[in-house]
């Protein structure tokens, strides 16, 4: 079995699950931050194997879901320009704005292209000097390095036709927003391992201390997730609140310092509006003034945006782990992946979509 396949070994997973069953004595609520982790849990049916006392709550770790509707509307406006090639990650295509999505812009003749990497967007700009190429730079800290280097590369190549529309968000402020909410039920966090690969986990030490919650840096394979949950449960049972690293093959405490330096060079912290949750101070990144010419929001004066959000959608409460999709009256009826009312139903990691696809009709505990 290859080294990587070993992290999917059913026998090892069950051994770790046995240990969780053995040590748990009371109900605990654990939040996994990252949409990719939610996806993995659903894909492998991991929650079926946990003891009933453990409740996994899914956090606001889906950059697709939390990108503000204003920014989506700006993206739609820019993409509709005849001279623009609008490039984006695949996840963003079906996110609903106030009036349609990028798919409908494409259907109306806008040039919208899916790319795997922002650096591919720079290549497109090189090959199409007569067009304006815009990249929709969404993401958490994991995606900041590629986003930032696309700007650095464009600068080094002195490109005049490349810009990014920034919707970067940061995990630590989101964690604090969840923890400081009066409705908070979260007692421990599984932190997003790939965010930590870039940022390290030194930022979480004050959070764990201030709110007295254990935080375990966790990977994405079934064994990683089980280990993360096991260590979190151990801490909860022991009453400790440390930051632990359960993804040591990829993450170190300092993280990738070169990547962090590049991020600091190009980005600066700013307030960000999280769709469905509201404004979280200093929870985002934006381009520094010296990189203003690569800022699509400045290059394209996108004027009066009148946003319109569905009133029924409770995505915000779901993103904070306060409600579950089943609590929403529109879930599975008015709101489905084909007819999403909010972003948590659109992104395949959005909690609502994950529940719809994997748990909606499941005969097991829901």
């Amino acid at each position: 079995m290859s080294l990587l396949d070993s992290f999917r070994d059913g026998k090892k997973v069950r051994a770790a699950m046995d240990e969780i069953h053995r040590i748990v004595t009371r109900p605990w609520t654990i939040m996994e931050i990252c949409g990719g982790q939610t996806h993995s849990i659903m894909q492998y049916g991991l929650s079926d194997l946990l003891p009933p006392q453990i409740e996994l709550v899914h956090g606001p770790g889906c950059p697709v879901c939390v990108t503000s509707i204003e920014l989506i509307d700006k993206a739609l406006a820019i993409a509709s320009h005849p001279n623009v090639i609008f490039t984006t990650f695949g996840d963003m295509l079906r996110v609903p704005g106030s009036n349609g999505d990028l798919f409908s812009v494409r259907a109306a003749g806008g040039q919208v292209r899916i790319v795997y990497s922002p650096l591919d967007a720079v290549q497109i700009a090189l090959k199409n000097p007569d067009k304006q190429v815009v990249f929709f730079a969404i993401g958490f800290e994991t995606t900041a390095p590629p986003n930032v280097y696309s700007v650095l590369q464009a600068q080094a190549l002195d490109l005049q036709n490349f810009s990014i529309l920034v919707s970067q968000v940061r995990v630590p402020p989101a964690m604090e927003a969840v923890l400081s909410s009066p409705h908070n039920r979260v007692q421990a966090f599984l932190a997003a391992g790939h965010v930590n690969a870039v940022m390290g986990y030194w930022e979480y030490l004050p959070v764990a201390e201030k709110y007295r919650v254990p935080i375990v840096v966790t990977g994405f394979e079934p064994l990683d997730l089980t280990q993360g949950i096991l260590w979190a449960v151990r801490q909860l049972e022991q009453g400790t609140h440390e930051v632990q690293n359960a993804y040591s093959r990829v993450v170190t405490k300092e993280g990738n310092t070169r990547a962090q330096q590049a991020i600091q060079k190009v980005f600066m912290e700013c307030d960000r509006n999280w769709r469905g949750i509201g404004m979280i101070p200093m929870s985002g990144w934006r381009l520094r003034p010296e990189f203003a010419r690569f800022d699509a929001e400045q290059r394209f004066q996108v004027g009066d945006i009148q946003t319109h959000e569905s009133e029924i959608c409770i995505a915000g409460l779901i993103l904070q782990g306060i409600k579950k999709p089943f609590d929403c009256p529109a879930f599975g009826t008015l709101c489905t992946p084909q007819t999403p009312l909010g972003a948590t139903m659109v992104s395949s990691e959005g909690t609502c979509a994950a529940y719809y696809n994997y748990k909606r009709n499941t005969p097991v505990k829901g």
Partner: protein, 87 residues
């Protein structure tokens, strides 16, 4: 937010002002930017997200983690199957 997979670096080169590498994900080859990991060498395992190497993978750490689980397996605290059944 973090779909990133590990692959083996098979070549390193400069292109369009950036240090790049070709990564082999078990038969699938893709270019990725190596700017944040300049110490990487051909043969290392890189964790790639959106065309960018965000970190290298330590095989020794991976093995250590797996050993922990082997121990757990061997200790084999048996629970009756009913408790683990779905639902």
């Amino acid at each position: 937010m973090c779909l990133a997979v590990p692959g083996k670096i098979i070549s390193i080169y400069q292109e369009n002002a950036l240090t790049m590498c070709k990564v082999d994900f078990g038969g699938v080859i893709r270019a990725a930017c190596l700017e944040a990991n300049p110490e990487a060498q051909v043969g290392d395992y890189a964790v790639v997200h959106a065309g960018f190497v965000i970190s290298l993978l330590s095989e020794s750490e991976a093995q250590e983690t797996l050993n922990l689980f082997k121990e757990m397996e061997q200790m084999g605290i048996e629970l009756p199957d009913e408790e683990l059944k779905e639902g």
